[in-house]
Amino acid sequence: MSETSAQQAHVHAPPEGFIRKHVFSLDHKVIGKQYYALALVSVVTGMFLSWLMRIHLVWPNAKIPGLELLSKVGAPGGVMTPEYYLSLLTMHGTLMVFFVLTNAPFAAFGNYFLPIQIGAEDMAFPRFNMMSFWTTFAAWVVLMLAFVIPDGPPIAGWTEYAPLSAIGKDAGPGMAWGASLWGISIAIFCIASLLGSLNFIATTLDLRAKGMTLMRMPLCTWAWFITSCISLLAFAVLLPACILLILDRHAGTSFYIPAGLVASDRLQPHSGGSPLLWQHLFWFFGHPEVYIAILPSMGIVSHILINSMRKPLLSAKVVIYSMMSIGFLSYMVWGHHMFVSGMNPMSALAFSFPTLTITIPATILTLIWLGSLYGANIQINSASLFALGFISMFVAGGVSGFFLAQPSIDIYLHATYFVVGHFHMVMGVASLFGVFAGTYFWFPKMTGRMMNEGLGKLHFWITFIGTYCIFMPFHYLGLIGNVRRYQSFVDDYMTPYLGVHKFMTIAALITGAGQLIFLFNLIYSRFKGQPAPENPWNATSLEWSIPSPPPWNNFGGKHPIVYHDPFQYGVKGSKGDFVMQDSPEQVPASGN
């Protein structure tokens, strides 16, 4: 596509009226904020559910005031039933993985900043963009409906393994309409993600400003671009997987259900399906999904670190190629979730090797971040604290992957708390650290106001220390063989360790409460924060060359021209120790 037609394809008139400005907006910035808001509502809900689960685990008979309002059947008199624990567990996982970890670092920040960082007025397909958010919202509404239907949410976990998820009400409470709503919600979510990913790819390839070569793109733009490629291929597999699940449940097909099953004393009227088919399709999506959650945060953290260190990373190219390798390898490793699933044991070896190999690009990334800190002039603020905390968390969560990548160790650790600790730290918390860093960093640009630094730092310390207190013990409990997805520990061997669980619950309550500081900061600063200048962090990328908040068409109708990569820190520029990407000043040639 020529530059002219590409530039014109996405141009739309200034929005008029409340609905066009704030609801059905075509503006990528509004859509980015809508994604952020949806992720925020989901993360608060998901965290609240985890509180309920943690409380129930250590005080199973505790009356939680008001819980009966959430479900009369699931929590009669405010005391949670075992099956309701599983319902909450399913909803927690689904909300967090899909609506938080996919939406916040990728869809929210990517939507808002990718077009600006490459010097575009909007996404390539603004109407598609609007549609992808509202489709995601529809998916969220369908999922949340599971809370209000009489049967309650499904109890099969966020992985919805067949045939538990496929045979309907005979599988247990929540597996009638609750599980159907889950399947429909995720199918809708897949459609939204496909639309979004296509848009990201087209925008990156077609709408870059003059001079914005691929290698001059900021690292977070690179991360969003790579993530959109992964997302396109991953959700394209999960969508048919969910459709087959819905057909098994409602059209009498047998994709996932073999012959001869007897559930609830009823011979199931199915034959010829395979439960392993669901697992293969699910994890073909599921493992790349881990990188859909973490890669954008890697990009955001790299972007912020460079700014805070006041010098470039040792090599931006190595970071880009490492992220690409991780994305590529993520498609070859899904079977490591299935070592003990009954698939051919030979294939475990084939899946183990590429899984272990991912350690190499992941280690390279970590070493580049660490090595770049050497000799820097690190500025500490809320954004950089979370970016630095990300490195610590990524290493902590990453090394445990080394155990689980080996089938022989997975025999013992599979389905224990070790796995829960691993993915919560690396894909959950590390990824959220990227989101927190991004929020503190970009809030001034998005709202025109600064966030409160003192509250931001307090939020960091509670979250950083709290996270270690919650999730390190998960690993230890996994070592003694503490099984996950149990609503109570009725076994003798667990008795000496109940204190550890209590410690974790208290840590979770405190750390969760610490997030209220963040929420308060977000809302307070939005209205009462100090006015933000155009470029409060003395940063180089294009988003800092326009007013805070940016006008509806980003660059006020002008087309920026890019002269440098965004790594021009530690140089002598007219404004200080940096030169902006759109500044025609000469800079020494860099090795990046």
Binding site: P82, L86, Y161, P163, L164, A171, G172, M175, G260, L261, V262, D265, L267, P275, K311, S315, V340, G342, S352, F353, T359, I360, I364, I368, L373, Y374, A376, N377, Q379, I380, L385, V395, A396, V399, F402, F403, Q406, S408, I409, I411, Y412, L413, H414, K457, W461, F464, Y468, M472, Y476, I480, V483, R485, Y486, S488, V490, D491, Y493, Y497, G570, G591
Partner: protein
Amino acid sequence: MGKFFAVVLVIIAVASAYPIVMHQFPLPQDISTHGHLIDDQLNETMVEAGISFVGAQLVLAFFLWSFTGRKPGSALKNFPGGARVLVIFAFVIVGLEVLALGVMGQKAWANVYFSAPSADALQVQVQAEQFAFYFRYPGPDGKFGQIHPEKIDEGSQNYFGLDPENDVPARDDIVSGELVVPVNREVHLMMHGKDVGHSFYVRELRLQQDFVPGLDLSLHFTATKIGKYEIVCTQLCGLGHYNMKAYLNVMSQGDYDNWLKQQSQ
């Protein structure tokens, strides 16, 4: 604040490593012939992962201590050798680790999965269902009766759907809620699921294997210590999942023979 961050990181690194170094969360005793291979592999990985974790946190702490709060305008330096050295380091060190663990670690896996059970192994059929395990022994004739899913009836305790009236080998089959095995004899489990996915997990045996409805899976092991061990379900199977368990009862050959006799009566 950078120096404070550095101190916190050191404390976190030490506090995280302490319970491991002090063996505060020991693996349960190993009662299998293959378990030591898994334990060795796990311990070796723990050393490597532990060094990586503590090392990375300490390096981060050291750099934060050294390179925050510097005077404005302090000279910027680059890591000696730059990215090249780090990339080569990652490829060589991690590559060797991957090769070592990846290749050597297959021994334990091969021991469990790539060797066939011996011909004289004790054959036991296991059925997993919501929310119990049932174990079937072939009885004196050494033959299992056929399974007829439509005849499964929990009320009359016909868990496997046997048809003793028309099927002779089924008449002497022994069905138990407990997996009773003689010590030091190889056991061949033939596993199938009745309704949804389940899993067979015995910590002390270092064994875990899913039941997949529609698939007949097999697992073999030799228990080396007399005692009673918990078998738990580790595949989320519905509302009673947390309560789905049975016991593995490892007996001396004499006790086992007596038990078998009692069951046949």
